[in-house]
């Protein structure tokens, strides 16, 4: 198992290098000179040149890429153009907020998705099943940012129950978390339902019933664990979607997270921040998927024995 984890971590290196290369190249070909927006039109050529040197904007493509990678290896992600802070510092300030938001969204999605998926499967073709499946189809199709706006309209503007922006207490996480998690909750519900339906037909469920177990135990002990195996993979993929979706939700609810930081950075041509942000999100996405794969092996003994 450790060997497997080590191999997977090793395989991350080329992927991350690819991400760095891709984002670096995209930022390289982005039109416009950041120096213009930083110094304005009246700056002297000397001042401009000095700033270019300071920000590492001189030199050709390969030279700059090489320098960037070398500095990354030393833990230096570059300097934020607008605040002149280290990019790593800015990410350290914003990333925890994004993680908080995404974790709440995942928790929301898993709790609701699993519950509704299971109920729906147990009562297949009932009214509850039909309602849950219709809602989940709408949930999958609902743009998260629109959902965020509707929630804000209802709970902040009309009912005045929850704050519309800021990120200083738990109540601030609820609305953005739900808005972000709605899509995932819906697709987890659908996955859980079809997984459960598949499992409930299996012979070992009959075996469990023939043992005299109560229906509740049959479902929770025997069916659920088997049905969860494919769902776990979905949860991993959903986490990636959520990290991306955070970009939108953070903008709506004015949450100082990585997503909002990056959107602002793109608008102001603050490339080091964009590069750092994409890199951190790609890294956490890959790590989450690794954790999910390990979890997968933990739940499914058939997979576990492959790694031995």
């Amino acid at each position: 198992m450790l060997k497997y984890i080590a191999r997977r971590l090793l395989m991350l290196i080329p992927v991350l290098l690819g991400v760095i290369l891709l984002v670096f190249s995209l930022m390289y070909i982005t039109p416009g000179d950041p120096v213009d927006s930083l110094l304005g039109d009246n700056a002297t050529p000397e001042a401009r040149e000095a700033l270019r040197e300071e920000l590492g904007l001189n030199g050709g493509y390969f030279e700059r890429f090489f320098n960037y990678v070398v500095r990354l290896l030393r833990g230096d992600m570059g300097i934020c153009y607008s605040t002149r802070q280290n990019v790593a510092t800015r990410i350290a300030q914003t990333f925890p907020n994004t993680v908080k938001l995404a974790s709440f969204a995942v928790a929301f999605a898993v709790v609701f998705g699993l519950t509704f998926g299971i109920v729906s499967a147990i009562r297949q073709y009932s009214i509850i099943d039909n309602i849950v499946m219709s809602i989940s189809m709408i949930g999958i199709s609902m743009p998260s940012f629109w959902c965020g706006l509707l929630l804000m309209l209802l709970f902040c503007v009309k009912l005045k129950w929850l704050p519309a922006s800021g990120f200083d207490s738990f109540s601030c996480v609820i609305l953005p978390g739900i808005a972000l998690g709605v899509n995932s909750a819906a697709s987890i519900a659908r996955m859980t339902r079809s997984g459960m339906l598949e499992v409930i037909r299996q012979d070992y469920i009959s075996t469990a019933r023939a043992k005299g177990l109560s229906e509740f135990k049959v479902v929770t002990v025997h069916a659920l664990k088997n049905a969860l195996i494919p769902v776990i993979t979905t949860i991993g993929m959903q986490f990636g979607l959520l990290l991306g979706g955070a970009v939108l939700i953070e903008s709506i609810f004015a949450i100082p997270g990585v997503g909002k930081m990056m959107v602002d950075a793109i608008k102001s041509r603050n490339y080091p921040v964009v590069q750092g942000g994409v890199l951190v999100i790609a890294l956490s996405f890959c790590l989450v998927n690794l954790v999910v794969d390990i979890l997968y092996a933990y739940v499914d003994p058939r997979v576990r024995s492959q790694y031995k």
Binding site: G18, L22, P31, M137, W146, L149, V278, F285
Partner: protein
């Protein structure tokens, strides 16, 4: 044995199409989805005829009016008719959906075919590139590409197209790997068919079903991506009538004129919803085995 005679499925093409349609049309939800899709396409095509107002005609005296007989969906902050803007917005969304999917289909199928058919180093390189694309959440990738290319309809299409290449690439590669060594392909190769002929005539038709399903579902996703980018102000920029950017400007008036936000959002949802229904229906109809 001639190359033609080894072709699988071809004589039954018509009946298979009819069979698929029969199964599809029996699926109530899929038919509802198809109706919404057709309606949206009609809106897009007939926009100048059916929309009650010019999408950009401003009317400063009627700003932020709620729904009324004159303006069914109300007016926005410049007094523009929201219904007309939504109808025109369908043009943007539908064309982004279609063209982005074409870009990713062409790219994904080509790369997947090369990777699967030739294997070895080239396969490795292509698939690692796909891993890189997959490891960046789609929205972020879209935003980064649009940032590099600049905003605008064409670049939005390219961004969405490129970022959804990996899905198709994987489908095509997987089915080529499973078909490459099968008898009918071997036979055709023995008969002297070249690689291009083999791939286009024998292998691709066999992965058509999952490709069609994936493409339909991805049209919905593309419409959503386009709206998301515009919402962030990085996609299609005002004053062009686009659902996402309408939502974005409507945000500022959420308190007093919520309809400015509600209707464009409903339009996005209807488009994505209908594409999902059609995609699910197609999957069930094309491959009854997969039905739950």
């Amino acid at each position: 044995m001639s190359a033609i005679s080894t072709k699988p499925n071809v004589p039954k093409k018509h009946s298979k199409l009819q069979e698929t349609w029969r199964r599809f049309s029996k699926n109530g939800r899929a038919v509802v989805g198809l109706c919404i899709v057709i309606m949206l396409v009609l809106c897009a095509v007939l926009a100048p005829i059916i929309s009650p107002y010019e999408p950009n005609a401003q009317d400063p005296r009627n700003r932020l009016q709620g729904p009324s007989a004159d303006h069914w969906f109300g007016t926005d902050e410049l007094g523009r008719d929201i219904l007309s803007r939504i109808i025109y917005g369908a043009r943007i969304s539908m064309s982004v959906g279609l063209i982005a999917i074409c870009i990713s289909l062409i790219g994904g199928v080509t790369l997947g075919a090369i990777a699967g058919y030739y294997g070895g180093t080239i396969d490795n390189i292509i698939m690692r590139c796909m891993d890189v694309l997959l490891s960046i959440p789609t929205i972020l990738l879209n935003i980064s590409i649009v940032a590099a290319l600049g905003s605008g309809l064409q670049n939005v299409m390219i961004a969405i197209g490129v970022s959804s290449i990996p899905g198709y690439c994987r489908i095509v590669r997987a089915s080529i790997l499973s078909l490459r060594d099968q008898d009918f392909v071997e036979a055709s190769r023995a008969a002297g068919a070249n690689d291009f002929f083999l791939i286009t005539r024998h292998i691709l038709p066999n992965c058509l079903a999952p490709l069609i399903v994936q493409a339909t579902l991805k049209i919905g996703a593309a419409i959503l991506s386009c709206a998301s980018m515009s919402f962030l102000g990085l996609g299609i920029v005002p004053p062009t009538a686009e659902w996402g950017s309408m939502l974005s400007t409507g945000r500022d008036f959420l308190r007093d004129a919520p309809h400015v936000c509600i209707f464009p959002g409903l339009a996005i949802m209807a488009a994505v919803f209908s594409m999902n229904l059609v995609g699910d229906g197609l999957r069930d109809a094309l491959d009854p085995k997969l039905k739950d």
